[in-house]
């Protein structure tokens, strides 16, 4: 009758061993102190470990990252707890969401060291509650190996081309309600065709068989012929820097990219960082934002996050200067206009394209 005793013992030993293993595996550094700066950000944030180590050497502050999904989600979470924030600084609010952050009083004012070196077109908040850190462009990308080969038409050269019958069922975009590049592309069409013209344009795109995916990952890495594993669309809404990434992540196979950028389709995005109101360690947060404007950090930005530094003095890596030249004049709308119309525009777009 005693055979359940070893069973019991085995279960407890197993449980204890697993729990012990788990504790030693996951119980690292949770002690927050004034020597730690907590930076809340989205999953795409990245910096070289060496660069962050330099920040610690120079200032004595250690950076603790809190990553929380995409940019929209990180912002929503920061807003939710703004009276008792979980972090000291937030990185990753862009110009399409800036209004929401500022109207809700998320950030406290701070004039970062070196901000005067950043061109005025990036400094969108006159009160300096946010500091521009990087910028990028959302553009329609094309598969250079597809267009003009095997009897396919030549690559499109403008937004209007995308609505032409020759490009029927070739474009995949992201849902602006759920995706930041998706929203940026809708804003590009509003900037290009005006508040009265963009509805017609999207009706034409819909008739022309545009596909709407939920997010960038699916559009680019499943559906885009040049990169996707199940690709059947040679046109995708993505970023101006993708040609560079196409070369860097080809495992040395590609010397020139097979991904191109369709001219006149780009919308400018600027990413900001700010010191959170009620932060526990505002001094550390300010030091971190100062550091993000230094050349060391700015030059790290391109190959880490595939965006451009805001500091004109920062040098771009060769693969960028060769294949990822920023568009000369991206389409733009003011953050204020975006902020007051964003929800309505998304609703209208949903009615036109999805319903």
């Amino acid at each position: 009758m005693n055979r359940s005793r070893p069973v019991l013992a085995a279960v407890f030993v197993l449980g204890a061993a697993l729990a012990g293993g788990a504790c030693s595996g996951s119980g690292s550094g949770s002690k927050a102190s004034s020597k730690t700066v907590v930076l809340m950000t989205h999953d795409s944030f990245k910096a070289s470990p060496a660069v962050l180590a330099q920040f610690t050497r120079e200032t004595g502050y250690k950076v603790k990252l809190l990553k929380s999904g995409d940019a929209g989600k990180a912002l929503s979470e920061a807003l939710l707890v703004k009276d008792h924030p979980v972090a000291d600084a937030l990185f990753g609010v862009d110009n399409t969401f800036l209004g929401r952050a500022l109207d809700n009083g998320l950030f406290s004012e701070y004039a970062a060291k070196g901000i005067e070196n950043v061109p005025a077109r990036f400094r969108l908040d006159p009160k300096q509650r946010v500091t521009p850190i990087d910028h990028g462009d959302v553009c329609v990308n094309d598969d250079l190996a597809w267009f003009g080969h095997d009897g396919h038409p030549p690559a499109p050269e403008s937004l209007s081309d995308l609505a032409e019958p020759a490009y029927r069922k070739l474009l995949v975009v992201e849902n602006p309600a759920s995706s930041s590049p998706g929203l940026a592309f809708v804003l590009a069409t509003i900037a290009a065709f005006g508040e009265n013209g963009w509805h017609d344009y999207w009706q034409q795109l819909r008739k022309n068989g545009v596909r709407v995916d939920d997010g960038w990952e699916q559009a680019y890495e499943s559906d885009f012929t040049a990169a996707g594993v199940s690709g059947d669309r040679p046109l995708v809404v993505s970023y101006a820097t993708d040609p560079a990434a196409d070369v860097v992540f080809s495992e040395g196979k590609k010397k020139v990219p097979t991904v191109g950028v369709v001219p006149g389709t780009c919308f400018g995005q600027i990413e900001f960082a700010g010191v959170l109101e009620h932060a526990k360690n505002p001094a550390g947060a300010r030091a971190l934002i100062d550091f993000m404007l230094t050349r060391r950090f700015q030059q790290d930005v391109p190959l880490q996050m595939y965006v451009y530094p805001v500091l004109p003095k920062a040098l771009l890596p060769p693969v960028f200067t060769k294949y990822a030249v920023p568009p000369a004049r991206p389409l733009a709308l003011s953050a204020r206009v975006i902020g007051s119309h964003r929800t309505d525009w998304i609703d209208e777009w949903t009615r036109i394209v999805l319903q």
């Binding site: 809340m40 979470e77 699916q218």
Partner: protein, 535 residues
């Protein structure tokens, strides 16, 4: 710890845990956000009524389909000896843990023009979404029903057959009623998973379709309209509670005490025509579940269109800095979280199961419903609730790593409960009486009678708890967390960057996740077989 004090303590631990890590956060976020106006808007909005209807019918349909696919496999696994039986059981669990985005990619490869299943014409829509839901959830039916089935005494069916019942009639009138509670337990979990479907809807259905879960996410996270999100979350929870209360009642009423036997005695080698049945069921299930897995593994060794192990090399090399930490750290983190979450789930869920199974009644039914509720609550609600509620000493856990396994265990507890309760309920009270009569004190009766029988169910629950954690279910993806990436997080980070090598690494990580899951589940099975062989 016997008698009344013991009972109170056994109930207090699970209730306290759920109270702090589920009820309080959810009540805090809903209480803070909900307004009468938003609730009114939600009820009059025709679009949202459409969403609620779609949520319900697709969940019912997907649950039915999952049972249809899973029950034959559960039968074969429970009743027949065949080579690789344990491997098959572990294999079935693998789809359950895979990140949705990866599985969606695999299905898109199969359904795309020129793909193996392109003739179905299912590139996007409700049909591929349902296929994926079944793919994810078959494990729940096979393992929960199969686990219970393998302890049913086959002599009962044999007796019915000897008395002249046909095979079908013996199944309908003997096996099915005895299996009822286990089938309902599995169905309720599958229903909750599909009712709160999120990723599969976004990735595989056409964008015109949305579930309540999707809508809550859009309203709460993307539009930051918390009142509407809270109203929707409330609607979702009311629906789930109504269903769960009914299910708990039905399971309690259908519970039959019976003589359970060792799995080894219940299974035998298939004879004659049975061999074809077994081979057919195993073949079809393997094909259905294995197809997408093979596609994923295939993509992991094809970088930029040509065969190469570059993705695996890159995972192992120091130059990969997408993660900040090497891929092996992600593996260690995943396993650590899984072990901790599963231990919490087994302790908390185990205590709760004992309470629920031993004292039927309104109070324990309410407790049962409460324990299941996290599976049917939107992840956004729980995630936001953690942020709002767990922000003061002594529970200032918002930015702590420990919150991750805790959040996972909240989702894993229902599996332990659903696996263990039917087993304890089926124990013949005469066994306990006999033990007591022979002079065993209550604790000893429990240890010598209940525990050995419940242990098999515990291992099923433990396995699922590990799987839930390895797959990063529920609110865990919604808690802002320190940079301790797990395998699924690493996969999503690779996928978030352009370039062939990143896609390859995401697929390689997914393949590693498959292998690890299979290995862990297999290891649990080994322990179970060794320890319970003579039961």
């Amino acid at each position: 710890m016997s008698g009344r004090a013991g009972r109170v303590l056994r109930a207090a631990i699970p209730l306290g845990f759920l109270g702090v890590f589920f009820v309080w956060p959810v009540a805090a976020i809903i209480g803070r956000s909900l307004t009468a106006g938003a609730l009114h808007d939600v009820f009059v909005d025709r679009g949202l009524r459409h969403v609620a209807w779609f949520t319900l019918w697709q969940a019912v349909a997907a649950t039915g389909l999952t049972l249809a696919v899973g029950l034959p496999a559960a039968y074969v696994v429970a009743r027949y000896e065949f080579p690789g039986r344990r491997l098959f059981r572990a294999f079935v669990t693998v789809p359950f843990v895979l990140p949705t985005v990866v599985v969606a990619t695999a299905f898109l490869v199969l359904f795309r023009p020129g793909g193996a299943l392109s003739f179905l014409g299912w590139q996007r829509g409700v049909a591929p979404m349902m296929v994926a839901e079944v793919f994810f959830n078959v494990a729940v039916v096979v393992r929960m029903v199969g686990g219970f089935w393998s302890n049913l005494d086959p002599h009962r069916t044999d007796a019915a057959r000897v008395l002249g019942a046909s095979r079908g009639r013996a199944f309908r009138e003997v096996t099915l009623p005895l299996l009822g509670p286990a089938i309902m337990a599995a169905a309720s979990i599958v229903f909750l998973f599909t009712f709160t479907a999120f990723g599969v809807v976004l990735l595989l259905a056409d964008p015109a379709h949305a579930t309540l879960e999707v809508e809550i996410y859009r309203q709460g996270v993307q539009l930051f309209d918390l009142p509407v999100a809270a109203a929707l979350a409330l609607v979702q929870m009311v629906g789930v509670v109504a269903l769960l209360a009914t299910m708990a009642r039905m399971q309690e009423r259908r519970a039959v005490t019976q003589r359970l036997v060792a799995a080894r005695d219940a299974a035998r080698r298939p004879r004659g025509g049975e061999r074809w049945v077994v081979a057919g069921v195993l073949g079809a299930t393997t094909l259905f579940l294995g197809g997408p897995l093979v596609v994923l593994a295939g993509e992991s060794v094809r970088v930029g269109g040509s065969w190469s192990l570059a993705a695996y090399r890159a995972l192992g090399s120091a130059s990969t800095d997408t993660l900040f930490v090497p891929a092996s750290d992600a593996l260690v983190n995943s396993l650590g979280f899984a072990a901790l979450a599963a231990c919490i789930a087994v302790v908390v869920g185990g205590l709760a199961s004992v309470v629920i199974a031993s004292r039927p009644g309104r109070a324990t039914r309410a407790m049962d419903t409460l324990l299941m509720l996290p599976l049917g609550t939107s992840a956004v609600t729980v995630g936001f609730g953690f942020l709002v509620a767990l922000d003061r000493w002594p529970l200032d856990l918002r930015a702590k790593t420990i919150l991750v396994p805790i959040a996972q265990s909240v989702v894993a507890i229902p599996f332990v409960v659903r696996a263990v309760v039917p087993a304890i309920r089926s124990i013949d009270p005469r066994l306990r009486d006999a033990a007591a009569l022979l002079g065993a004190p209550p604790r000893r009766v429990w240890r010598e009678v209940d525990l050995p029988i419940a242990l098999r169910a515990f291992t099923v629950g433990f396995g699922f708890a590990i799987a839930v954690s390895l797959g990063e279910f529920g609110a865990t993806l919604f808690v802002a967390r320190p940079d301790s990436p797990t395998i699924p997080i690493a996969i999503s980070r690779f996928l978030a960057r352009p370039g062939a090598l990143n896609v390859g690494q995401a697929m390689a990580m997914s393949t590693i996740l498959m292998v690890v899951t299979g290995a862990v589940v297999l290891a649990i099975e080994q322990v179970r077989v060794r320890q319970l062989g003579e039961l």
